[in-house]
Symmetry: C2
Subunit: 496 residues, 2 copies
C-alpha cells in the first residue's frame, strides 16, 4: 500500500464522516425539526456540503490518485480507488458556477412545483422546468466528456454507476412488449378469483407502530442500530450504524404504512449489512440505486407480499389490530397485497403496472435530454404513453406529468432504477431460493435468517467492490434478465 493511498483513505474518511453528519441532519429535518428552523438548517447543510465538496475538489487529490495506483494495492483497495475516482469525476466535472446555478434552479423549480401540482398548472412551471432541463443538459454534457459516456448515461451514472442505455433499452423493451397483455391477463385472473375483503379501521397509530416494529425486528432490523419514526415523505436515512426509517400512518388503512415500512426495512438491511471494515470509504458504500431498490423490493414485493410471509404475519396483524373474520385470513391478505389496478399514479401502482409508469418516464426523459421532445409537448406525450402502456388517460397534468418531484428537483436519470431494482430483486430472490431451498419454508415460520445470510454474503457485504452487473453475475450466474421478473409476475398474477 502506498503512502498516497493511505492519505486518500484519510481524506475520504473525513468526507464519509461529514456525509454521515449530513445524513443525520437530513433525517432530523424530516422527522424532528420544528418548521421555524428550516432556514438555519438549510445553511448548516449547505456549509457541510461545501466542506465535503472542498475535500473532493482539492487539486492535490488528482495527484494522490495517480500516485496511489502505481503499486501494491489489493482488490478491495483498487476498487476503493476506482470509486474515489468516480466520485472525484462527478464532483469536479462541472464548473463551480454551473453547479451553483443548477442547484438554485432546482430548488426554485421544486418550490414552484409544490404549488403548480395542486393547482394543476403545468404552464406556470414550464419556464422554471425548462431552466432545470437546460442546465441538466449542460451538466450531462460536461460529465459525459469526463466519464466517456453519452450525456444521458452521465446522468444515470450519478445513481446507477456504469449503467448503459443499450442494456436498459433491451430490458425495458422486453418488458414493454409484454406488459399490456400481462396486465390484461392479471386483471382477468383477478376477476375470476374470490374478491378480496378490506379490513375495516380505524387502525390506531400506536397499534400500527407496534405491528411495524415487530415485523421489522423479525426481518432482522436491529433497533440497537436504528429507529422508526414519522415524516411526511417516508424514507430510509441515517447511516449504516444508525439506520433511520420513517413512515406516515393512515388510520383508515394500515397496509399502506406497513408495506412502506417493510420496503424501507429492505433498504435498511442493505445499509446495515455494508462491509464494516470499509465504513466511510467509497468502496464500503451501497453499489447504486438499482441494487438498493432491489433490496427494498426483495423484502417488500418478493417476500412480504408472498403467501408464505402472510401465513406468518396474519396472526401478528390480527393480534395487533384485534382483527377477526375472513378479511384477516392469510389468503385474503395475500389477495389484497397482490391486487392489480390500472392507475394514474406511480407511487400507488402495484407490482405489475409499476414498470409501465417507469418505462414511460425513462423514455420521456431520454427524449427530453436528447432534445427530441420539447417540454411544451410533454403533457401530450405523457398521455399518449399512458394510453399505450397502461390503457389509462390522465384527466389532467396533476395526475400526469406533474405527479413526480424528480424532474422538477433535478433528478434526471433516476427513474429507470426503480424497475431495474424490481428485476434485480426477482432475479436475486430466485437465485437465493435455488441456493437455499429452505428459504420459503423458513419465511412461513417468520425465520428470515437464511435469506438474510444469503443477502449479506452475496450483496450487502460486497459494498461497491463490484459493479451492479458483476454482483448479479456472481450471485445469480448471469446479468440482469428481464425474463426472470416476467416469470415472477406470471407465476404470481396469472395463476388461477
Amino acid at each position: 500500500m502506498t503512502a498516497a493511498y493511505a492519505t486518500l483513505e484519510t481524506r475520504f474518511k473525513r468526507l464519509g464522516l461529514v456525509n454521515e453528519a449530513v445524513a443525520m441532519l437530513n433525517w432530523d429535518t424530516a422527522a424532528m425539526m420544528p418548521d421555524g428552523a428550516a432556514a438555519a438548517r438549510a445553511e448548516q447543510l449547505a456549509e457541510l456540503k461545501v466542506i465535503a465538496h472542498e475535500i473532493l475538489a482539492d487539486p492535490r487529490l488528482a495527484d494522490l490518485m495517480d500516485d496511489a495506483g502505481r503499486d501494491g494495492l489489493d482488490d478491495w483497495q483498487r476498487a476503493n480507488l476506482a470509486e474515489m475516482r468516480r466520485l472525484w469525476l462527478h464532483a469536479t466535472a462541472v464548473p463551480a458556477d454551473l453547479v451553483a446555478a443548477y442547484s438554485r434552479a432546482c430548488s426554485e423549480c421544486e418550490m414552484a412545483w409544490r404549488k403548480a401540482r395542486p393547482a394543476n398548472d403545468f404552464a406556470a412551471i414550464l419556464p422554471r422546468l425548462q431552466r432545470v432541463l437546460d442546465l441538466t443538459r449542460e451538466v450531462a454534457a460536461a460529465k459525459a466528456v469526463k466519464l466517456g459516456v453519452s450525456p444521458y448515461e452521465a446522468l444515470l451514472d450519478q445513481f446507477e454507476p456504469g449503467g448503459r442505455i443499450a442494456e436498459i433499452d433491451r430490458l425495458f423493451d422486453h418488458l414493454a412488449e409484454r406488459l399490456p397483455a400481462l396486465i390484461e391477463g392479471a386483471l382477468a385472473a383477478q376477476a375470476a378469483r374470490t374478491p378480496s375483503l378490506r379490513p375495516a379501521g380505524p387502525f390506531p397509530v400506536e397499534a400500527q407502530r407496534q405491528a411495524a416494529q415487530q415485523l421489522m425486528a423479525r426481518l432482522g432490523f436491529e433497533f440497537d442500530h436504528g429507529r422508526l419514526d414519522q415524516s411526511l415523505h417516508p424514507f430510509c436515512g441515517g447511516t449504516p450504524d444508525d439506520v433511520r426509517i420513517t413512515t406516515r400512518y393512515d388510520e383508515a388503512d394500515f397496509a399502506r404504512a406497513l408495506m412502506g415500512v417493510l420496503h424501507e426495512t429492505g433498504h435498511a438491511l442493505y445499509e446495515r449489512g455494508l462491509p464494516a471494515v470499509w465504513r466511510r470509504q467509497p468502496v464500503g458504500e451501497a453499489r447504486g440505486m438499482s441494487i438498493h431498490e432491489s433490496q427494498s423490493l426483495l423484502i417488500e414485493m418478493q417476500v412480504c407480499r408472498s403467501r408464505e410471509f402472510l401465513e406468518f404475519a396474519a396472526p401478528i396483524l390480527r393480534e395487533c389490530f384485534g382483527g377477526a373474520g375472513p378479511e384477516w385470513e392469510a389468503a385474503n391478505l395475500y389477495r389484497l397485497g397482490t391486487r392489480v389496478v390500472r392507475s394514474l399514479i406511480r407511487v400507488d401502482a402495484d407490482e405489475v403496472t409499476y414498470p409501465a409508469h417507469v418505462i414511460l418516464r425513462y423514455r420521456l426523459e431520454r427524449a427530453l435530454i436528447a432534445a427530441e421532445l420539447e417540454l411544451a409537448d410533454l403533457p401530450d406525450a405523457w398521455s399518449e404513453g399512458m394510453e399505450r402502456l397502461l390503457a389509462v388517460t390522465p384527466p389532467d397534468d396533476r395526475d400526469g406529468c406533474l405527479q413526480d418531484i424528480h424532474w422538477y428537483d433535478g433528478a434526471w436519470g433516476y427513474f429507470p432504477t426503480y424497475t431495474l431494482g424490481a428485476m434485480t430483486a426477482a432475479q436475486l430472490f430466485d437465485a437465493a431460493k435455488r441456493a437455499v431451498p429452505a428459504i420459503p419454508g423458513a419465511i412461513a415460520h417468520g425465520d428470515f435468517a437464511p435469506l438474510l445470510a444469503w443477502l449479506r454474503a452475496n450483496v450487502h457485504n460486497l459494498g461497491s467492490r463490484y459493479s451492479a452487473r458483476d454482483i448479479l453475475v456472481r450471485a445469480t450466474g448471469k446479468p440482469l434478465d428481464a425474463a426472470i421478473f416476467e416469470g415472477h409476475l406470471r407465476a404470481r398474477y396469472l395463476a388461477a
Copy 2:
C-alpha cells in the same frame, strides 16, 4: 470595514455552522440515538471538532485579525473581533499533543468515574483523576501565559470570559460568612410555618409533558423554534433557531421534571433571544456561563418559585393532574417549592443551601490547581468543608467528592458560575421589577411578556457585545453585589 474583517466573518460563519451541526448531533446523541451507534457518533463528532479546530488554528487567522483591527470597525464589529481573538487564543494556546492527551485522559477518567461513583471507590479513580489534574494544570499554565491571567483564571475564562478570582472571592466570602446563619434561620422559619403537603402520584408522563409544554409556551418558548424531549441527563441544547430542551420524568414526583424544564426554558429563552443579525459570529453568542445560568435561575428560582407564579400555575397543574385538595393550593405549592433541607447532593439542593455546595467546590478546586491540596486529601477536605459550610457530613465519597462529573471530565473552573449565576439572576430580576413595576402582577396572570421584553433588551439581544460585568452595570447600575442575592434569600426564606 476591512477586507480582512469580512474574511474573518466568513470563516467564523463556517465555524458557527459546524458548531451548530455538532450541537444538533449532541442533542440527537442524548435524546434519539440508539445505543449501538455510539462509536460511530463519537467519530462524527470528533471529525467535526477537528474541522472546527482547523478553522481556528489556520496560521493565516492571526494575520487577518491583526489587519482587521486597523480601521473602520463599528462597536459590534470590534467586539466581534475581540471575541474571535479570545476563541483563537483558547484554541491555539495549548500544543496539539497536550490537547490530545488531555482529551484522552478526561474521557478515560470520566468512564472510570461512572463505575467508581456507584462503587464508592475514590482510591480506584485517584490515579486517573491525578492525570486529569496534572494535565489541567499544564493546560491552565499554557493558557495563562497567552491570556495574561492566573492559571485558575485561564480555566475560568473558558466558561466565564473575563472572570477574576479577586471578584469571586469577595462575593463568595460575603456569602460564606452569612450562609450558616441564613440556613439556620430559614430552617427555623420553616419549622414555624404550616407544614407543606406533597401531592400524591402517580403523575403520568403524558400529563407531565402537557403541563410542561403549556407553561413553557406561556413563558415564551416558541415551539416553532424548538422541542421538548426526554434524555437521561436533562439539558438545553440545539441552536438559537432550534432550541432543544430535554427532561427526565419521574411518575412519583411531577415537580422535579417540571422545575427542571422551567430551568432549561430560561436557558432556551436566552439562546432564542441572542441577536439574530449576529448569528454564527462570536459576538452573537451567549456571554458566558454566569449570564447563562442567571437566565435559567431567573426563570426557575426568581419567577417560577414565586408566590405570583404559583397563583397562576396552580389551576393549570390541578387541571393537568386532576388534582384537588389543600396540597394543590398555590400557598402549599409555594411552601413545597421553597423547602430548605441540609443535603449532601448539590443537584438536589435548594436555593439557600446550593451556594454552600458551590463555594466548597470552588475553594477546593482552586487549592488543587494551585497544588495547595493533594488529591489524596480531597475526601477529608470535602468532609471538613461540608461540616463547616452546611453542618452535614457525607457518610462516604459517593455522596461526597465523587458526586459531580465536572472534575473527572476536565471541567475545572466551571463550578463558581452556578452561584455567580444565582446572584446575577437576583440582581437582574430586582432591576427588572424596579424598571417595570408591573412585572410581578403580570406574572400572577401568566403574562410574561413584560419580563421577557426587559430581558431581551437588557441581556439576550446583547450577545457577547459587552462583558458579563458590563451587562450587569448597564442593566442594574452596578456590578455583581452579593447583598442583593442575600436580600432575596432573607425576604423569601426568613419571613414568618
